[in-house]
Symmetry: D2
């Protein structure tokens, strides 16, 4: 018998709290092992080293369905504890998953073996083993459309627009545990270089469609690149903490070259860590080694580490290790939002 929508949307995804688990003894033990355990330990110590290095700004790159999978609170905590100075992300994470939950909606534990035709009829969207209420997602799209319609009709960087989303959440949000809200409060800029490739895209298409022939708000992705370059120029050194690959990885790596191209050369990224399941043999950027990035002049080779593992297993350990080392306590709040303008 086919289950009902209520039965299918019952078990909520709960976000892991790195503050509650001091994983340092476990991660340290992994440092004496081999393979990915040892790689993970090194990645954790490199992230910790970025935080201890007070001259170094940290750019967090996010790709993959991390927040719907229970990793949202990890990033909220990184923002709140000055463990990250700028974020480059896919739009889905920021809008469909974080902003969505900030509207009071939730993700649900489902099954990868569910019948997708049944789900579609019930207005349930599936991400591997996770369910989302499609009607709630449409409400998220509509909220973005309304928000866009209240803003001045001019080109925005995604960073600016997400800043407006943060300001809106400060007034209307249903939860404080939101990456968009926490970043707004901490002055941490969030960039989505492919911002229309998500729920925001639906909202903005709706905005432009209904404003046809009239002045419209637009999203200037070139400006995102310019602003992130300005962030880098405001830092003495930089480190990349990358979860997944895709556009965020490439975009953040490229900023060193962009600075050079506008006549403001800066040092290569001093540290680089990537958690990924991709591998280098297909030649795609997501799995390209950080050594390869060094040939492009983007990343220094002495302090880079890739960890081959799925993020729900690796991010809690790497971020948890660095959190409990507490080097963030002595870090300044950089508020790079100011450098973007």
């Amino acid at each position: 018998m086919t289950p009902t929508k209520t039965e299918l949307l019952r078990d909520t995804i709960e976000h892991l709290d790195i503050k509650a688990h001091d994983v340092r003894p476990l991660v340290r033990a992994m440092g004496h092992m081999a393979f990915q355990a040892r790689n993970l330990h090194r990645a954790a110590t490199l992230y910790d080293a970025m935080l201890e290095d007070t001259e170094c700004g940290v750019i967090l790159c996010l790709a993959g369905s991390l927040f719907s999978a229970g990793l949202k609170q990890v990033v909220v905590d990184l923002v709140r504890h000055r463990m990250v100075d700028a974020i480059v992300s896919t739009g889905a994470l920021i809008v469909d998953q974080d902003f969505f939950e900030a509207l009071g909606f939730r993700h649900y534990r489902g099954s990868p073996h569910a019948d997708d035709n049944t789900l579609r009829e019930l207005h349930i969207d599936r991400i591997y083993d996770t369910f989302i209420d499609e009607d709630e997602l449409r409400e998220c799209d509509a909220t973005i459309a309304r928000l866009a319609s209240e803003l001045e009709t001019r080109p925005y960087s995604s960073r600016e627009f997400i800043g407006e989303m943060g300001a809106w959440l400060a007034r209307h949000g249903k939860t404080r545990d939101s990456v968009v809200l926490a970043a707004h409060e901490a002055g941490v800029p969030i960039f989505c270089p492919a911002f229309s490739d998500c729920s925001a895209g639906f909202g903005l298409v709706h905005h432009q469609w209904t404003r046809a022939g009239r002045p419209q708000l637009s999203i200037d992705s070139a400006r995102d690149f310019l602003e992130l370059t300005r962030c880098r120029l405001a830092l003495r050194d930089s480190g990349l903490f990358m979860v997944g690959g895709g556009v965020p990885k490439n975009f953040a790596q490229d900023v060193v070259v962009a600075a050079d191209f506008v006549g403001q050369p800066v040092a290569m990224h001093k540290y680089a860590v990537q958690l990924t399941v991709a591998d280098e043999r297909d030649g795609a950027l997501s799995g390209s080694t950080l050594r390869e990035a060094s040939s492009w002049g983007k990343v220094a080779t002495t302090a880079e580490q890739m960890v081959y593992g799925e993020a729900t297993l690796t991010l809690p350990l790497v971020a948890g290790y660095a959190f409990h080392q507490r080097h963030w306590e002595a870090r300044p709040e950089r508020r790079l939002v100011a450098a973007c303008q």
Copy 2:
């Protein structure tokens, strides 16, 4: 002894010509086997079915370093033979690789074991086993910056800007075998939803940096989404032919939902084929099954097929099979560029 730049940049990448290899007997034999050979056969027949179905427009999605790897001519041929009606791509493919070669530059066969610090000193960039002259790439960036400076200062969709690149190549290009040029000639729109995440980004950042305080050209990624939605509305049915995942896959799948969101509901994508090495178990979009996309109302489940294999091995067989079936001969030239405006 360290090799010189001339020694390292000697063996050029040559693009495979699907017209020269009638792979149909081989692909048909694979259809009676198992595993990925059989999947590949089914993908090839589905792509062929899209082309035979005269009511169906074909959207080609491209991600990964395909053109630097020798697959540029395959896409040029698909465009020239009416085997694709719209393209969604990463910026790197369109600008750093296709436009770059159209300027007369080349990619070179290198080694994944090269010393990246040496390469950097020689201004050689590496993509796995392929080398690029960084100085030539900077020339490509600068060309984009100049081109931008000659255009009207207003928001452009990436499609519009790439159209301008095509027009420029028609006058100044060094080769006719360019995807950007062929698409310009055939009226095939090319979308790069993350357009600043590539060489174009460097050019545009340079443009905006040097124009600080003055009117600037910008890239409106929301408008890309609107335009691709309009392309879908101009078609009775649609099929997706996806090479790799990432933003292009998501963006093109989403257009069905976008159409619905602006009150113009259309049918789900009737056909969907993806060639990929990603897998579903990390929950990321790149490896998500096309059945999963069906729960979102994006893709119909009856005619979808994923092929697990690296694109240099699989694309020549799938595209070659469909080319030699010659169903493209009876296809109309849709010139969807007109639907974008």
Copy 3:
């Protein structure tokens, strides 16, 4: 409605014939590309070089469900055309798949989405997208048990036992297109170092169970290693052509060390090619690089190549290329079976 067994076991797997497809122009074109296409070209030319090198014996290593997937005829043709001098394989390939088909049974095209509980009730076994009649497989097990009972009760190497299977097929087999039979005729030894890990195991367990307390036939896996070492000692040089990893890869690589250990040092394997989907990052042997094998003194580094791709896609191209080069025409028939005794 649940399908019947007859409906499910209808579409037979048909084996690909490399003789019918001259893939050399395609493979040569791949040699000017990048990533796995170029790796595949190099692997094909290295296999061809092994065959051209008349002092070099070729050991073919097989793992994975290759024969049930339609690759049996490829190996039959390699054996018949003197393109291989010894085979190391999993037991499943040799017994459950090759010997099984030689009894007149077939594999069937099925679906990875079939309901496995239904299949079990119908006595249908599934390998990903392939179906097997469990009742026929039991008949295969029973044939092995009968064959064992007719042999002298002493330790056999798997090679000896498989030789007996070949002799039996020469009298009773239902098809001539059998690897076991072709190898028997050509004097090519076949080793299954984990011989009881397959249908043969069921037959031999039955033999030993019913002979409890009486003299029994046994399978001496140490003797396999000794015999393969003797094969290597009978050769001036050796090359490995490996499809998949697992025990066969390790076993064949190790033979160089074994020769040294019994005081008969030989050169490292001069050529080594592996087609695989495994990767090195989990530290397991299947995906370990051939460069790593060089640290162990097993494989020379100058002529090794791994190709990352699934075997149904890659083996037809690599084997087909070498077949149509026809360097096998000038190769001697080595009949290494004689060296084993």
Copy 4:
């Protein structure tokens, strides 16, 4: 400057101690997430359920370079705390890695980027990022050869031979923390169905080579299968805890069919857990789903779980969770060695 052997063999691999890390709160939190974190939680609870189910015997399957990577103590602890009743393993783990360390030798932390030709000259073997002293490994081989020469010249199951190794270690071993020794003491049988495919193979080849023409010890892999079948017959229910795939996974799954084939039908494995990086799309056994195994009548579908992740990251969490649940306290010591004879 090339490093010396002493410099390269300096940092020892240290084995992780699950007793020191109560990972239960972390693993429980993962149970409310998605993707592999949730899969890992379910795998951990299923392993725990096997231990709580007093009628259920647990068969541990091991493949991959686990012990050289620092996971040896995990397995020693599973054996000592009655968390496993039988082990099926690759030979390399049992002989080259466990027995090797019991002789007083160690594994060393190295680098995957080391020059393999240099390593070979220094007699250093590499496993990804781990180094081994080849001279010490030869000493291990020679010890096996001596041990074989002292035994009665008849066919042994690998289980019997490994039992003799355990007895030898009880007298001569340099450490108590050995899987072979602990299993000997606890009456836990260890099977290596491809026993000659490892350091033992070198020892046994040496034995048979030097005994040519005289009575020899042999290894009967059919008898292994018979003995493991007897173990299963001695149990009411069974559960599989599999790390990696390969021969051990197949062998242990098959035992249900073997029991049926000798006329002693038993229930399918009631529980099955696999930690692996392989995936199902190449059709090979290592990545085949446990649902697929159900079509073969080997594994029940209600309590199976695969976890996609590298074992150094996943095994400490799964085994650690079950250890700290302490259901092993109420488990009987089954001493299945007795059932083998």
